[in-house]
């Protein structure tokens, strides 16, 4: 780690030691609003403690941003608008949910492509192995261990 990054990290850690905690009693209108706030802040990343979400981070900036999210919710903004407000200032990095765009195609579709290829391979294997299989009557109620264990 370079000296520079060490110093930057130290500063950010210094910010953590300022008394601020993730518990923010906010005056929600109702339970639904409270739930929405909790889910939204869980999907956002804290920029200071970058491995924590906005809901749980102790950092002062996280507290400020939670307050911002709350105020915007009260002002009637939608989740998408609030996220856009944040990404305008902090880039996509503040979102835990990677947006679907050119650069994330591989991310979102990769696993499905693999699944598809795998499924085709499995189908081929099963087809090949099920040929030449002498038929056994359905009614054979054998419970020989070799067949079932």
């Amino acid at each position: 780690m370079t000296l520079l990054s060490r110093v930057v990290l130290a500063t950010m850690l210094a910010m953590i030691m300022l008394p601020a905690f993730a518990v923010d009693p906010l005056p929600f209108k109702d339970h639904a609003e409270e739930l929405r706030f909790q889910e939204l802040t869980r999907e956002l990343r804290c920029l200071v403690c970058q491995n924590e979400n906005l809901a749980d981070s102790h950092a002062p900036l996280a507290k400020d941003l939670r307050l911002q999210v709350f105020e915007q919710m009260q002002a009637g903004k939608s989740d998408a608008q609030i996220k856009e407000w944040l990404t305008d200032r902090y880039s996509d990095f503040v979102l835990y949910d990677p947006p679907l765009r050119g650069g994330t195609m591989l991310l979102w579709f990769g696993p499905f492509v693999l699944l598809l290829i795998g499924a085709i391979v499995v189908a081929m294997i099963v087809r090949r192995r099920s040929r030449g299989l002498p038929r056994i009557a359905e009614s054979t109620q054998s419970m020989r261990d070799e067949d079932w264990a």
């Binding site: 370079t2 520079l4 990054s5 110093v7 930057v8 990290l9 130290a10 500063t11 950010m12 210094a14 910010m15 300022l18 920029l47 200071v48 970058q50 002062p60 900036l61 400020d64 941003l65 911002q68 990404t87 305008d88 200032r89 902090y90 880039s91 990095f93």
Partner: protein
Amino acid sequence: MTFSRLLPLIGLIALVALFAFGIRWNMNHDQREVLSPLIGKPAPEFSLPVFGETSRNYGTADLRGKPYLINVFASWCIACREEHPLLMAEGARLGVPLVGLNYKDEPTDAKRWLAQFGNPYDTVIVDYDGRAAIDFGVYGAPETFLVDAAGIIRYKRIGPTTPDSLRDELLPAIAALKALP
């Protein structure tokens, strides 16, 4: 030896290449750095109390038509002390007004800090609750922004300004501003 049997090995080679890149990249970059999406976009409007004269405000209205630097600093910020001597030495010679943004700081602490280390700023403004800084996408201190005469953010430095970053990044960025009509 069929191709399908070689696939895992090929996959491994790709993975090792990626990790080798990762190690190299780590040596030259700070992994925590979040690049600003505001480069090339208009700087947010702000109007904040002046340090020491809280009845007076200073902001984008006063800076219209001029390029300027905003340096986010605080007395609790250890890294700010790193760059401060450099700002003291070079600040006046940069050729653009240097505005200090006192970020989430107690006035008495900030006053003591500036008295102790010196005040290189043309103006110091106070962002006590940090809201204006959020509009700039600030997530730590120190951070420095260069805004051009048209009010567009042209350069952002995350972390302390070093002699190298001053020479290789900030000064050329300022020079580039002068080249604009």
